[in-house]
């Protein structure tokens, strides 16, 4: 075997703390190494051409690239060796950047370690063999989880691209957080006027199957062929009959139900359509408040419903959908401000969240767009906005910036002045973060044209004084304490991962960070892909995002799905398990341990033997360790290869 070793400088990223020429020199003495050199940028065009040229000129059968992490550029170099005429699996990488040059400054130790990692790669490569993918059929349908603006955009783009879309939404209407907003920044255009038409498009699109009030229960399968179980929660109303006329809401006697759409600032009926523009516009019964469920008698809605749609005995239904790709757009939740004891911990009715205030501002909200204090219905004169409630605060384990609160607070200050011209707004802020087109101009308008008084500092405490609230904080620019008597305090609560995100991530087999936000494949270059093939991210489930970014990601995820489905067939990864049937004793342990059901037992001349279904196997290698006979080996990660790596490290 003839192996070529290419040690990358990565500009100065590696060369600064690793003597790459010396690593290449050492590598020349390794077994089977026929050629070794250092290169400036191995991933650049001349770098890749250099590898291809060396393969051809020196007649190499395998290549080791010592550079960055294989998670970064393995695919790049596999394509390069393929262009050079080799099988793409005759490549190994030694990670001498993330695992060497970037984590230590000792050049001697780094150089030595880099050479060892090259040796490890060479020993593995000596035992590699050419592998060939199998192709398999795909289901050209996509599942979109979450019907907020990101999910809506992804669903519409996929459907317009000719794909069948299954859209699952947890609540009884799509629209998400955006549907609750009164206006949007920085244009101050009406949120439901721009979102509403898109929601209608979803309802009317022949390629979109919408499952509202449903949740993903279980996900099986793999890219191209997922099988998804969806729990359609009981609405107690037959939606195929419900016309959305709203008569039941008019007559329902339980008028004190929690109004989730209005963030609890108003009350609603036990049977309700959450808001007039809801899609689907169908009623559902909240069993926690319905007299029929609580007391066993009422039945008013059943009596008045003109289409006879009420079904008190309805139960959850689980349906199964087959899809080839999944877009996750589950959005975010608001930080729970009751964790701040100093802001009243939720005890003061006139200390509300920004989204509650949004409902007070909205013409379709519980107050018809008149700003009224929740406590006594009085119109506030002094409104204090407190920014960074649950953002940039390590004491509540939320060190990150939620990104959009500065902007929506400026918007709300502007709207407050519009609604109540004689009002005065105060905004307590830490820094104003307004990077975006027309964003900074917008916050300046709030101050300069609308007279919002911005105070740089945090609020120390809020407490009632008479029927008003005393807001005490620091003005760090003036270096003094400030006390403002306010009629209403609006907390600009930050974003956190949607409740249940980790559980969904586990079902999708994708990673999430410590706050529950889903991890993208690469923070810059693969922002909507995950490390699980066929699963994509859109919107705030990946991290706090404003509307334009969420819509952009929705489209981006859709384009990734369309790209995936533009191929007739998908190719399976050949790094999968293989059974040596002469060694197999047919115990079936591998079939039992396989998480994917990729091992089946077959009959070979009267004896049971294991066989791997190549397009189902995902290559985890659990079976290889389980097999008591060593009959199952994971291609590209065989026992011999791993032990050769160990040996390469441990020989002195």
């Amino acid at each position: 075997m003839k192996i070529g070793v290419f040690v990358c400088h990565c500009g100065s990223n590696i060369e600064a703390t690793v003597d790459t020429a010396s690593v290449a020199g050492t590598a020349r003495a390794f077994p089977d190494v026929a050629y070794a050199t250092d290169v400036m940028y191995s991933c650049s065009e001349p770098g890749q051409d250099g590898i291809i040229q060396a393969v051809r000129e020196k007649g190499l059968d395998g290549v080791v690239v010592a550079s960055c992490s294989p998670r970064m550029h393995e695919t790049t170099f596999r394509r390069a060796v393929e262009r050079a005429g080799l099988n793409r699996y005759m490549l190994e990488m030694a990670n001498i950047r993330e695992h060497v040059s970037w984590i230590g400054k000792d050049r001697e130790a780094n150089t030595n370690k880099a050479a060892e990692l090259v040796r490890l790669a060479v020993e593995k490569l000596r035992r590699n063999r050419a592998l060939f993918p199998k192709s398999f059929d795909i289901t050209r349908r996509v599942l979109v989880i979450g019907g907020g603006v990101a999910g809506i955009q992804a669903a519409l783009d996929c459907a317009d691209g000719g794909l069948d879309v299954v859209l699952v939404e947890k609540t009884s209407s799509i629209g998400g957080k955006m549907a609750k907003l009164d206006k949007t920044f920085p244009t101050v255009d009406c949120s439901s006027c721009i979102l509403g038409p898109k929601m209608v498009d979803v309802a009317q699109h022949e390629r979109i199957a919408l499952h509202a009030y449903a949740e993903v229960e279980e996900i099986g399968g793999y890219v191209g062929n997922f099988e998804v179980k969806i729990r359609k929660k009981a609405t107690f109303v037959d939606w195929s009959l419900c016309t959305g006329c709203g008569l039941c809401m008019e007559k329902c006697p339980s008028r004190k139900s929690h109004d989730a759409f209005n963030e609890g600032v108003g009350l609603t009926t036990a049977i309700n359509i959450p808001f007039p523009q809801a899609i689907p516009k169908k009623a559902l019964i909240d069993a926690r408040f319905c007299r029929q469920f609580l007391k066993g008698k009422c039945g008013v809605c059943a009596k008045v419903c003109p289409s006879g749609a009420i079904r008190y005995e309805m139960e959850d239904e689980v349906i199964t959908e087959k899809v080839g790709a999944i877009v996750t757009a589950t959005g975010f939740d608001l930080f729970d401000h009751t964790k701040y004891g100093e802001y009243g911990g939720g005890r003061y009715p006139d200390v509300i969240t920004s989204l509650q205030y949004e409902r007070l501002l909205s013409a379709s909200g519980p107050t018809g767009g008149h700003v009224k204090r929740p406590s006594d219905g009085r119109e506030p004169r002094t409104v204090v906005f407190v920014q960074c409630v649950g953002s940039r605060d390590t004491s509540v384990d939320r060190p990150y910036c939620s990104g959009f609160c500065c902007m929506y607070t400026a918007k709300q200050a502007i709207l407050t002045k519009d609604h109540i011209p004689e009002s005065q707004s105060y905004v307590f802020y830490m820094d104003i973060r307004a990077p975006g087109k027309l964003y900074d101009e917008f916050t300046r308008r709030a101050m300069e044209e609308y007279g919002a008084r911005y105070v740089r500092g945090r609020v120390a405490m809020i407490y009632p004084k008479g029927d008003r609230l005393l807001v005490r904080g620091a003005d760090t620019l003036m270096g003094e304490q400030v006390e403002i008597e306010a009629d209403l305090v609006v907390l600009a609560v930050g974003a956190e991962a949607a409740a249940g995100s980790p559980a969904l991530a586990e079902k999708l087999r994708i990673s999430y960070d410590k706050y529950g936000f889903f991890m993208e494949s690469h923070p810059k270059l693969r922002p909507v892909e995950t490390n699980t093939a066929g699963v994509y991210l859109a919107g705030a489930c990946q991290g706090p995002k404003d509307i334009p970014s969420s819509v952009g990601q929705g489209s981006a995820a859709a384009s990734k799905v369309l790209g995936l489905f533009s191929r007739q067939k998908l190719e399976s990864d050949p790094q999968i398990s293989q059974v040596n049937q002469r060694r197999c004793v047919g115990c079936g342990k591998c079939a039992l341990t396989c998480p994917f059901g990729a091992v089946k037992m077959i009959d070979v001349r009267g004896e049971p033997k294991a066989e791997v279904i190549e397009t189902v196997c995902q290559g985890c290698g659990i079976c290889a360790v389980t097999c008591p006979q060593g009959a199952v080996q994971l291609e590209h990660f065989t026992d011999n290869q791993i032990l050769a790596e160990v040996n390469a490290l441990c020989q002195s």
Partner: protein, 158 residues
């Protein structure tokens, strides 16, 4: 090529590709400096790690072995780390029986986002191994180390 005499000990890491290898990458991207002793072997899943790999590594003369996978319930393959946890727990109890000090082997869970945690894990484990000093195993077991070169040859000869 030897480890740097007097400076380093021989520490081998087995890391799953999806979480911990990524976490080690994240630590690198964040320039979280670490001791240079550790050499990482990438495997697809912690469930791919045969406990006998670790035994062999220690008998070949490694002074410490560190295994890291995805957090429980967070496995890319659904269940691999549960298998790993069971196997490695059994291994932990077995190692003292063959005369390996317990501190020479650790397993842990680090996600791809936890660069800083990886730094702490490496720092801590390296210090722990240095406190134990060089392993006596290589001198004792130096004889029994042949590696089958052909696929399908004898398996681990322990």
């Amino acid at each position: 090529m030897p480890i740097l005499a007097g400076k380093e000990l021989r520490i081998v890491g087995f890391l799953c590709n999806w979480c911990s290898y990524g976490g080690a990458d994240t630590a690198g991207v964040g320039r979280f400096s670490q001791p240079t002793d550790l050499r990482i072997i990438r495997v697809p899943c912690s469930g791919r790690i045969d406990p006998l790999f670790i035994v062999k590594t220690l008998l070949y003369g490694a002074d410490g072995v560190l295994v890291s996978g995805c957090h429980p319930r967070d496995c890319h393959y659904g269940q691999g780390n549960f298998y790993a946890r069971r196997r490695l727990e059994a291994l932990k109890r077995f190692l003292p029986i063959i005369g390996v000090e317990p501190g020479r082997f650790e397993y842990t869970w680090v996600s791809a986002s936890e660069g800083q945690r990886w730094q702490q894990v490496v720092q801590g484990f390296t210090e722990q191994v240095h406190a134990l000093g060089p392993s006596p195993a290589s001198a004792v077991f130096g004889a029994c180390r042949e590696i089958p070169d052909e696929k399908g040859g004898p398996r681990v000869a322990v």
